[in-house]
Every structure is written in structure tokens, then in C-alpha cells.
């Protein structure tokens, strides 16, 4: 009996934190989003806040902008990250060199935003270099990549951190796959591209996919980078939620919570997908 209870006992402290803070926070947010918020004198369940938020043009713009940023930055990071991992694997650069790609892990997103600002602002390094080659005459002739609706600065900040992350997780697997599989395929007449497509890609697939979910969810729910490098309109959902939240009138809180719940809902769908990826991963044990 004691043995059967053991794992549960070991899990009590962590579950206390997860349920007491994490799950509780989501639950409270949910209750406020459907209009139950005693502190503001609201006690009746209503879907009015959802209707209002979902029906507002500025919310839809924000949702689109958030999805756009998260999707574009994650997809580019995945593609380039896998390409980078494969290049490191193929080029056999000196061992230890690949450690350089671990640097972005210790650099917070706020700093990666500053890095991109330094390079890409109209007074930044990149326009200065173009100017020295005589390609642009003055600051203003460099297109403004930051603070715009195209979100170039935000996307590049994420890419700077995420490409190495994807590359390192993928490289860890590529390095562990024995060469035998590729050799067999080559003996049977496969070329490099076919080996990559039919041998390596299926093996790294599940890891790459679960990393995709992680970086997508992060950039979808992050606050700092879009605040630092994004346009004033449309804002991403987390910023919008915080603006509603900071409104001194408590009556406004449910709007913030509705935005949070939609963020959370989209994320939960992602957790579900993530879990699917995990079960796939165990299927491909090598």
C-alpha cells in the first residue's frame, strides 16, 4: 500500500503550487471573464463580455497581429533552426564551437529586443553600414522596420533567440542518430536530399514539432518584446489585456480576463497538440 502511494506523496508539494497558483489563477480569471467578480460587485453569470470583446474590431486586429507575429517568427525559426542544425551536423565544425549557439539561452528577451533595436533602427548599425557604401543618403531613406505593423523588429528578436534553441535541440538528436541508417539508405542509392527527407526528418520531426509549440506559445503570450518594438496599434493580445487590466475601474476587469481566457484557450489547444507530439515521440524510439 505504501509503495503504491509513494509517487503521489512525492508529487504533493509540486501539485500544491501548480493547483494553488497556476490552476487557481486561471480559474479566477475564468470566473471574472463570465462576470463573477465580487470585488467589483458583479455576481451574475453573463457572456456579455465575450460578445463585446469578440465583436470589437480592435480585438480582432490584435488577435490577428498576435497570431501573425507568433506564426511567422516560429515558422521561420523552425525552418532556419533545422537548417542550422543540419549544417552544423554536416560541416563537422570543431567540437565546442556549437556551444556558441547556446548563448541566446542566457540572454533575456528584453535584451534581444535591444540587440535588434541597435541594428535595425534608422540610426542603427545596419543603416550606417549601408550609408558607408553609399546605398542610402540619410537615416530617413532606410525603411522603418521597427514599430510598424509588419512587426519585423519583433519577429527578428524572437528569431535571434529561437533559431539557436531549435538548432540545439535538433542537433542533439541528429548527433545521437547512428550513421548506420543514413549509410544503409545511401547504399541503396538514396542521395543526400532523400536521406534527409526520409530518414532524418521523421526522426527529428516530433522534437521539432514540440519545440514549435513551445516557441509559438511563448511569442503568442509574451509581453515585453511587442511592447518594446511593436506599433501602438494594433497591439498584441497580452498588451491589450494589461491595458484593460490597468484601468482603475474594476468594472473593466472582465474585459481583460476575456482576452486572457482566449489566449489561454488557444494555448490549451496547443498543449493538447503538444501532448500528441509527445506520444509520437515515444513511438520513434531509436
Amino acid at each position: 500500500m505504501k509503495e503504491r502511494l509513494k509517487p503521489y506523496i512525492l508529487l504533493i508539494p509540486i501539485m500544491a503550487v501548480i493547483i494553488g497558483i497556476f490552476a487557481f489563477g486561471i480559474l479566477m480569471g475564468f470566473l471574472q471573464s463570465i462576470g463573477i467578480f465580487k470585488a467589483a460587485g458583479l455576481t451574475e453569470i453573463t457572456l456579455k463580455y465575450y460578445r463585446e470583446v469578440l465583436g470589437s474590431k480592435s480585438f480582432i486586429d490584435s488577435l490577428e497581429f498576435s497570431l501573425y507575429i507568433a506564426l511567422v517568427s516560429s515558422i521561420i525559426s523552425i525552418v532556419l533552426g533545422v537548417l542550422l542544425a543540419y549544417s552544423i551536423y554536416k560541416s563537422k565544425i570543431r567540437t565546442g564551437m556549437e556551444r556558441i549557439f547556446n548563448i541566446p539561452i542566457v540572454v533575456p528577451h528584453m535584451v534581444s529586443a535591444l540587440l535588434m533595436y541597435n541594428i535595425l533602427a534608422q540610426s542603427g548599425t545596419f543603416p550606417r553600414i549601408l550609408h558607408s557604401f553609399g546605398l542610402i543618403k540619410e537615416q530617413a531613406s532606410f525603411p522603418s522596420l521597427l514599430y510598424g505593423k509588419n512587426g519585423v523588429g519583433i519577429i527578428l528578436s524572437y528569431m535571434w533567440k529561437e533559431i539557436p534553441f531549435i538548432a540545439m535541440t535538433t542537433y542533439a538528436i541528429l548527433g545521437n542518430i547512428s550513421n548506420k541508417l543514413s549509410d544503409v539508405a545511401r547504399n541503396l542509392g538514396a542521395n543526400n536530399r532523400q536521406v534527409f527527407r526520409h530518414i532524418l526528418l521523421p526522426l527529428i520531426g516530433p522534437t521539432v514539432f514540440s519545440s514549435f509549440i513551445i516557441i509559438f506559445a511563448f511569442s503568442f503570450g509574451a509581453y515585453e518584446v511587442p511592447l518594446l518594438l511593436g506599433p501602438t496599434s494594433p497591439q498584441t493580445l497580452p498588451i491589450k489585456a494589461f491595458i484593460e487590466y490597468s484601468n482603475p475601474s474594476l468594472i473593466n476587469r472582465p474585459y481583460a480576463m476575456v482576452i486572457n481566457m482566449i489566449l489561454t484557450f488557444i494555448s490549451i489547444v496547443l498543449v493538447w497538440l503538444y501532448n500528441k507530439a509527445f506520444s509520437l515521440m515515444t513511438k520513434y524510439k531509436w
Partner: protein, 266 residues
């Protein structure tokens, strides 16, 4: 074949440049006095940025130490609760494991923004908002997944056989943990601890909301410089930020290696 290798090498170095050049730019900026457009190198170098950072009037060092303390506390608590959880998930099979795993890893996916706003009012009622303890608590959910994930993998690798052997030989649970388990998982503790420290140290929004302007962390005093586009000071604070985590990583590795000479044996 050879031509191909060259191409892959070129791609690798290209990415390395994308990674490193912006970092070199902030190092230069941090030592700059005057750097007007359109010069590619500064006109004059100076230490004004570093002097500002070290000036006791601005108390940046104090905030840095406070932040390090906060994240160290978060790291220790996270490790203490993640070790048993990692063991449970890494070694045992039990009912409801799947669900518990999903719950533990969910904070990676669910935005912390939503969680923090949800608990804020309760934290206010409990007197936890605007306190050190409150900020420590709100850091735990986003840190836990990293701690548990790494430790779970470690327990999966080492299994339970050595612990059982110690118990058969008459060791009690505490002795087994100190003499067998801890040395075995030491490398895992280092990597989990460093990941957790990084996650905690980089938080901005959680400190802003739950700290309520009373708990001031390093990311918070740095934010305005980045926001206002103050390149020199932004760069100085960024470098301090990165160095702090690197020093923490180094120290942790050295400490554990010294303490557990046996750690290399699995």
C-alpha cells in the same frame, strides 16, 4: 561532397555572425562616449555608462543583488519540489500520471500574463502582492516545467536500483538520499538549477504586476533604458544581465563539482 561541406560550413558561420554581431555592437555601445550617425565606429570611447551603473546613487548594484537573491530563492524552492516530482514521474508508473504531467508542463504553454492577472486580487487579499514572497511564488509556475523536465530525464536514466540496494544494506531514506540519490542526480540539479535561475531572472511582467512597484528587480530598472532607446545604458545593463547569469552558471557548476567528486560516474 566537398563542395557541399563548404556550403554547410558557410551557413553555420553565417548564423554565428547573426548571433554574435549584435552582441559585439552592445559591447561597443557600452564603452561609447560619442557615436553620432553615420559613423560605423564611435567617435570617442568613455566609461560614462559603467560609471552610471556603479554610481551608488542609482543603487543598481543593490537591485542586482536583490534580484540575484530573489532568483536564487526561486531556484532553491523549485529544485526542492522538482526533485521528488522528477523522481515520481521518471521512475514510477501510476494512475493519473498523464494528467499530472500535463498540469506540470502546462505553464510553459499557458501565458503567464493570464495566470498573474488571475491570482493578483487573491494575492492582494492575502497580503502577498507587493512582497518578496509574493513575487517568489508567482515565479514558481513558469520555472517548474524546466526543473521537472530535466530531473525527470535524469531519474529515467539512473532508475531506482542503487537506492534499493542501499536500503537493502540498511540505509534509511535520509541516508539513501544524501549518499546515493543526490550524487547521482547532481549534474541534473546543475542544469535544472541554471535553467530555472535564467527563467526567473529574466521575468519582467510578473515582477511588474505582482511586485506592484515595491519589489524592484534588475529587469525592471533596465526596461526604461531599452524602452527609451538609450543605447549606451541599455547596453551596459544588458551586459551586466548576461554576465550575471553566466557567473551564476559557472559558480553552480564549480560548487557542485567540488562537493560531489563522484558526480562523473554515471
Amino acid at each position: 561532397m566537398n563542395k557541399n561541406n563548404l556550403l554547410f560550413r558557410f551557413i553555420t558561420y553565417l548564423f554565428m555572425a547573426f548571433l554574435i554581431l549584435p552582441l559585439i555592437v552592445i559591447i561597443i555601445w557600452s564603452f561609447t562616449k560619442i557615436w553620432p550617425w553615420p559613423l560605423i565606429f564611435p567617435k570617442e570611447f568613455g566609461l560614462r555608462g559603467w560609471e552610471y551603473f556603479l554610481d551608488p546613487k542609482n543603487n543598481s548594484l543593490g537591485v542586482l543583488l536583490y534580484s540575484i537573491t530573489l532568483s536564487t530563492v526561486v531556484t532553491i524552492i523549485t529544485l526542492i519540489i522538482s526533485i521528488p516530482a522528477g523522481k515520481a514521474l521518471g521512475i514510477y508508473e501510476f494512475k493519473g500520471k498523464k494528467l499530472i504531467e500535463i498540469l506540470i508542463f502546462a505553464p510553459i504553454i499557458v501565458p503567464t500574463v493570464a495566470v498573474a492577472m488571475g491570482v493578483h486580487i487573491t494575492f492582494l487579499k492575502l497580503g502577498l502582492a507587493n512582497t518578496f514572497l509574493g513575487v517568489v511564488l508567482i515565479h514558481l509556475p513558469p520555472c517548474i516545467p524546466y526543473g521537472v523536465r530535466i530531473l525527470k530525464n535524469v531519474f529515467e536514466i539512473i532508475g531506482e536500483s542503487l537506492e534499493l540496494q542501499a536500503k537493502v544494506l540498511g540505509a534509511n531514506s535520509f541516508q539513501t538520499f544524501i549518499n546515493i540519490t543526490l550524487p547521482l542526480i547532481a549534474p541534473g540539479i546543475v542544469s535544472a538549477g541554471t535553467m530555472v535561475f535564467i527563467v526567473s531572472f529574466s521575468q519582467y511582467f510578473l515582477n511588474l504586476l505582482i511586485g506592484g512597484g515595491r519589489v524592484i528587480t534588475f529587469s525592471m530598472i533596465m526596461f526604461p533604458f531599452v524602452k527609451s532607446g538609450d543605447r549606451m545604458l541599455g547596453s551596459v545593463y544588458s551586459i551586466v544581465f548576461i554576465l550575471t547569469t553566466m557567473v551564476f552558471l559557472g559558480l553552480m557548476e564549480i560548487l557542485i563539482k567540488k562537493y560531489y567528486k563522484s558526480s562523473g560516474f554515471y
